[in-house]
């Protein structure tokens, strides 16, 4: 499942990365519904993700993208419908939730690194306490992933000493250290300055090309074109359109999607 830095560089952002999707379904979402109070945030979402598939989710603000992603590792509970991840159903069952979180890594918009721990310790936390990996092994693995996100030399610094881009890369490494089967990204680059966006996207593209199953909320359309197997457009809590990037960007079926794309590509 892993695959070390292949020398892939950002220049290739426009050449699509070859798909690694298999036929095996790893995430199944059936008729997912969620309400915040009276507000219907997610409305009958159906989604099937294959192992190795890379999915980019976009849509206007407030359309429920983050909420969908967060439902997948139960940071939010859903009220109706079914989520099955790697064969385990996600419900209130504590054991199931634990099992699923072990397989799902998540990267936040605000990095959310732990400021009181060094970069290395941030990465060791989950392997040691959740996976119960021996410390020595955990360190080896952490260093491996830090190399992969290209900041092994920062291992002993504290998050506060790093730039935003470096922090986000640490956050990715931290999630990878759990050796998850699925990675969720919630607008990983939108809190970053333009120069830093690229360094994070590079890492993500590299990760995509290694065959990781990825769900990524982002408005970086270049990234979507390069790596996505499918682009999903959400609006008003519903999936409006889901298509491979070629079709999605060139001939969107829904007028709502067209409208959105016009807006976003203008910038």
């Amino acid at each position: 499942m892993e695959n070390n830095g292949t020398g892939f560089e950002a220049e290739t952002l426009t050449t699509p990365v070859e798909s690694a999707a298999s036929d095996e379904s790893i995430i199944q979402v059936n008729d997912l519904n969620k309400w915040f109070g009276d507000f219907h945030v997610l409305n009958s979402i159906n989604l099937d993700v294959q192992k190795g598939e890379r999915i980019v989710i976009c849509g206007p603000s407030g359309s429920g993208k983050s909420t969908l992603i967060r439902c997948l590792n139960h940071l939010e509970a859903h009220q109706r419908g079914q989520i099955i991840i790697d064969g385990v159903e996600l419900n209130e069952d504590v054991k199931n939730i634990e099992a699923i979180r072990r397989e799902v890594g998540m990267v936040f918009q605000q990095f959310n690194l732990f400021p009181h721990l060094s970069v290395l310790e941030n990465c060791l936390l989950a392997p040691i306490w959740v996976r119960k990996t021996p410390r020595r092994e955990a360190i080896e693995m952490a260093m491996h992933y830090l190399e992969r996100v290209r900041i092994p030399e920062q291992a002993d610094k504290y998050p506060g000493q790093l730039s935003g881009g470096q922090q986000q890369r640490v956050a990715i490494a931290r999630a990878l250290c759990m050796q998850p089967k699925i990675m969720l990204f919630d607008e990983p680059t939108s809190a970053l300055d333009p120069e830093m966006i690229k360094e994070v996207l590079d890492v993500m593209v590299e990760l995509a090309s290694s065959g990781m199953t990825m769900l990524c909320v982002t408005h970086e359309m270049g990234f979507a074109k390069t790596v996505a197997d499918r682009v999903i457009f959400m609006d008003d809590g519903q999936i409006v359109e889901a298509a491979p990037p070629r079709d999605f960007f060139t001939r969107p079926e829904q007028p709502r999607t067209r409208e959105f794309l016009e807006q976003i590509l203008q910038h």
Binding site: D31, N33, N43, R80, G81, E92, K95, N96
Partner: protein
């Protein structure tokens, strides 16, 4: 919304893995534990009291107390009941807390402002005061003022004499007591008239300012009125107020109003100690108003004292008032240290002497704690209301 007639529900977890079940179970256990602890404490107490033949109930409140109290704001003598001693203690506690709060606020504000003085000497002096008195236990300060300072005042026969009418001795400060004679009522009426007139004047001044823009010196005039009118009535009515001037007789002064040294020492200690905290609160409150605010106000042409009143103080108060009230609460609770020097506050009179005469510890301690609890809860309630009222509106 789904067309599926039987909506998919997330599968039910195993009960022992369901956090909701766990949470309910946990809470039930907690309730049970607390109830059990409460019940067994109650049961123990009841059975212990029974087996030891201790009287229970609040009947004792109607019994005669039989002991004297040196100072009381309400009418009291030793033939009255324990309920009365409770009230005496309570009023004495409220008196010392009230005065303490008043003085500590005044001293605290002065020192807090002095801390920001441009005069180096004054600022450093204020700092030294704060650092010294804040770091010494209050009880020690009470002892110090009571024994080492007030204790060395001369006896009543050698009392320090202030103009022949007030006297300072180790029995306290004794000042003349006004004795109202016929016609004294007019002074009261004059005062009431002056108060009403002042209120009318202030309203009028405000209206006039709104209408014409002219600022009327309402405050100094009102003060003059409130002081002047009763004084006028006093002389017009032929000075109907006599003064009961304390005179040395027998052991001590008789007549006049006495402030006992226990009250003095307690007030001094509470004031000086609490003022150090208030000073820091005031300082940080004022500092929290950025210098930009002052500059902007000055640049608008507002004179410095109006800058203070219209811009700095309203903003500083928002920061100052919440911690200030918690200091008031602390002061009230600390007034219970009165017991160490014999000031007859609630803890001393009620939880001390009354408890000892009746032996009903549980009832008396519970009543005492309830009083403090009530004071504290009402203050936090007021605080919450205030905070809601002044919260800055943000986006």
């Amino acid at each position: 919304m789904s067309s599926d007639p039987t909506p998919l529900k997330p599968g039910n977890p195993k009960p022992w893995n369901d956090p909701r079940v766990r949470s309910v179970a946990f809470q039930l256990i907690a309730i049970a534990a607390v109830a059990w602890i409460g019940y067994s404490l109650f049961q123990n107490t009841i059975s212990n009291m029974e087996s030891r033949g201790i009287r229970t109930g609040f009947g004792f409140l109607n019994e005669t107390a039989g002991f004297g109290i040196i100072m009381s704001l309400i009418d009291y003598n030793e033939t009255m009941t324990y309920a009365r001693t409770f009230l005496v203690g309570l009023t004495n506690t409220l008196l010392v807390s009230g005065l303490g709060i008043l003085f500590a606020t005044i001293v605290g504000f002065i020192v807090g402002i002095a801390r920001l003085s441009t005069n180096w000497l004054v600022a450093k002096l204020a700092l030294a005061y704060i650092e010294i008195f804040r770091n010494v236990p209050l009880l020690l300060q009470i002892f110090f003022w009571y024994f080492a300072v007030l204790g060395t005042l001369p006896g009543p026969r050698q009392a320090l004499d202030v103009g022949g009418v007030a006297f300072l001795s180790n029995r306290g400060i004794i000042i003349p007591r006004p004795v109202f004679e016929a016609g004294a009522g007019w002074i009261g009426i004059a005062l009431i008239i002056a108060l009403i007139a002042s209120a009318v004047m202030v309203t009028w001044a405000r209206r006039r300012q709104a209408a014409t823009g002219r600022i009327f010196p309402a405050f100094p005039l009102a003060s003059a009125l409130i002081l002047g009118l009763p004084a006028l009535a006093y002389f017009v009515m032929g000075r109907p107020v006599g003064w009961d001037i304390p005179a040395m007789g027998g052991f001590n002064f008789s007549g006049g109003i006495t402030a006992i040294p226990e009250l003095g020492a307690l007030l001094l200690a509470l004031t000086i100690y609490t003022a150090t905290f208030i000073a820091e609160i005031v300082r940080s409150g004022i500092v929290s108003v950025s210098s930009g605010q002052t500059e902007a106000a000055l640049a608008l042409g507002l004179p410095p004292r109006r800058v203070l009143r219209l811009v700095v103080i309203p903003q500083a108060l928002r920061v100052i008032i919440p911690p200030l009230t918690s200091q008031y609460l602390n002061l009230t609770k600390n007034s219970s240290l009165a017991v160490a020097i014999g000031y007859p506050d609630l803890v001393n009179v009620f939880m001390g002497t009354s408890l000892n005469q009746t032996g009903q510890a549980v009832e008396i301690v519970a009543m005492t704690m309830a009083v403090y609890l009530a004071i504290s809860l009402s203050i936090s309630l007021l605080m919450n209301i205030y905070n809601r009222a002044v919260a800055l509106k943000e986006r």
